[in-house]
Amino acid sequence: MNDQANKHWGTALLDALTSLKLAIVLLTLLMVLVLACTLAQVDLGTHGAVERYMRSWLVWWRPDGASWSIPVLPGGAPVGGLLILNLSVAQIRRLQLTWRKSGLWLLHIGLVLLVAGEFVSAMLQVDARLTFEEGHSANFVERTREYELAVVDTTDAAYDDEYGVPQSLLLAGGSIAIAKTPLQLKVVAYMRNSELRNRTDKDPKSLATAGVGPEIAVQQLPPVTADDAQDTPSALIDVHADGVSKGVFLVSAGISAQQGFSHAGRHYRIDLRLRREYLPYSLTLKDFSHDVYPGTDIPKNFSSLVRLVHPGSSEDRTVLISMNQPLRFEGRTFYQSSFGKNDTLSVLQVVQNPGWLMPYVSCTLVTLGLIVHFSFSLGRLQRRRVRAAAAAVGAT
């Protein structure tokens, strides 16, 4: 047997993983994905295109009119992941840990951090919004693309107990028990997007038996992807309390009517809404400003003067959030996003991204690496010139 055949399996794995060929293939795939993602934004919008090409394991293709689809490309997730491994392991194996190579070390670490940062954002970033009027406080944010089934116990005069069933559990179907309550929810159907209309005699009998559902016909639609469009999810939920059926409710983001039921002296409201996250602090909108250039209607600046109160840390301060000056607090960043109601209502976009610093660190490292690397190269070039000049003087 030759040496290649006897090669250690771990070494063979590392060789394949750190090969330059793999790096080139991955970079080529990345370019193809970026190009395809850019073109797809025309039809899918930014969010839809990024989800399909960059934040996926496989890119699927479905012929027009077909009910099946096939994978045509690896998605951004495996390509990016392998690229991180390729760059990092090749760096450790091949590059010497010397001062002369320190620039290249910084450069490669910066690039790996850049790709890793996108992974962290894809997995952990949460986009939400916070809406409040002047003089009002808000202590929760709503996710912009995720929904939840809210079951609210409104019995107590002083407070509501809100239970939120995330969309992912509704999509999975089956029965969902609400802890510390006698409630058991059975998901009869869940539609990511739907259209509602008043039911007519020609429509089939509604599956809903309680609330406003029997009056409404619901039709499933494919989810929307455009940036300026939003799904109208609907669900049919069979509610049981202590084993007793309370009926099948049609809940939908398109239904504004309140629906509910009572059991054992307690009153519950049921609703499908944007997913909420309650904050341990509150923000009060003291004033919203919409400045325009003098003599015109051209917007110059939008800002929200906000009072931030955190009972847990006794923090109580006033903050000005404007277009380019977001508030960063406890891992969330609050950007001025929109406004309304004759400039008395403000909408803040709230982004929670544990990896938000990674692109900054990455760019800094890449810049430093380039400076260090070219400084060494410049030094070498300078010394070579001096030696060449000295040799020339000696020769004459």
């Binding site: 590392l14 995330p166 929109s338």
Partner: protein, 229 residues
């Protein structure tokens, strides 16, 4: 040498029985490979642990019930999105209107947004209903209303000739007025308005022809005052 099929995980012996498995197992992994696998395993576990697919609970004081995302001016400018911009705001729209003199209004329940009660004896109520999205579209609703008064369906081309458009600050409102035939004919006066988010708002009343005729001028006046809060 014959190869032995590798046993399943459940009855696997302490040492692999098949020749291929035995050869691989005999080669110890290098420290680099171990470190690599450990890193992969750690990253997988760390990312898997980030899942939040569970039922949440929050106790919210009733008095401190915060504002909802509605009433954003759909005609107003939108601030430049931040660098990590997500979807644009789809704010809920709530219309308002001015009631004709002596008319009354009550907040809706169930599907209804509101119920308008015109003045006068025997005047039929006007219901205001909002449904998300196109709610079947204008044609489907028109045919539904026609069906309710005993008229046959029409197609898209016929709609412009059947409707009256009322211009309001909130946008155009399409009004349809259908009368059934026969001695106990029912008349249907219905209007449809699409808000900035594409949701459908219906203003509808149906009763005897004379009763509907009595409330028609007031309803058209109400629709002309339709605006956003």
């Amino acid at each position: 040498m014959p190869t032995v099929p590798c046993p399943t995980r459940n009855d696997r012996p302490a040492r692999p029985a098949c020749a291929t498995c035995a050869r691989v197992a005999a080669r110890p992994a290098t420290p680099q490979a171990r470190a690599l696998l450990a890193t992969l395993a750690w990253a997988w576990m760390a990312l898997s642990a980030c899942g939040n697919d569970h039922v949440t609970h929050a106790r919210v004081p009733k008095a401190a019930a915060p504002a909802h995302a509605h009433d954003v001016d759909p005609g107003g400018a939108t601030v430049e999105p931040p660098p990590t911009a997500a979807a644009p705001v789809q704010a809920e729209v709530r219309p308002t209107w001015t009631l004709p003199q002596h008319w009354k209004q009550t907040a809706g329940n169930g599907m209804r947004f509101a119920t308008v009660q015109p003045d006068g004896p025997g005047a039929p109520d006007i219901t205001v209903v909002m449904l998300g999205g196109a709610a079947g579209g204008e044609l489907a609703n028109v045919n539904r209303w026609r069906g309710q008064v005993g008229l046959g369906p029409v197609d898209d081309a016929a709609l412009p000739g059947l409707r009256t458009t009322v211009t309001s600050k909130a946008g155009p409102v399409q009004v349809y007025d259908f009368s059934g035939t026969g001695t106990d004919a029912v008349r249907m006066l219905a209007a449809i308005w699409i808000d900035a988010n594409g949701n459908s708002w219906f203003f509808k009343t149906n009763a005897g022809p004379a009763a509907v005729q009595a409330v028609r001028p007031g309803l058209l006046t109400l629709l002309e005052t339709l605006r956003l809060e």
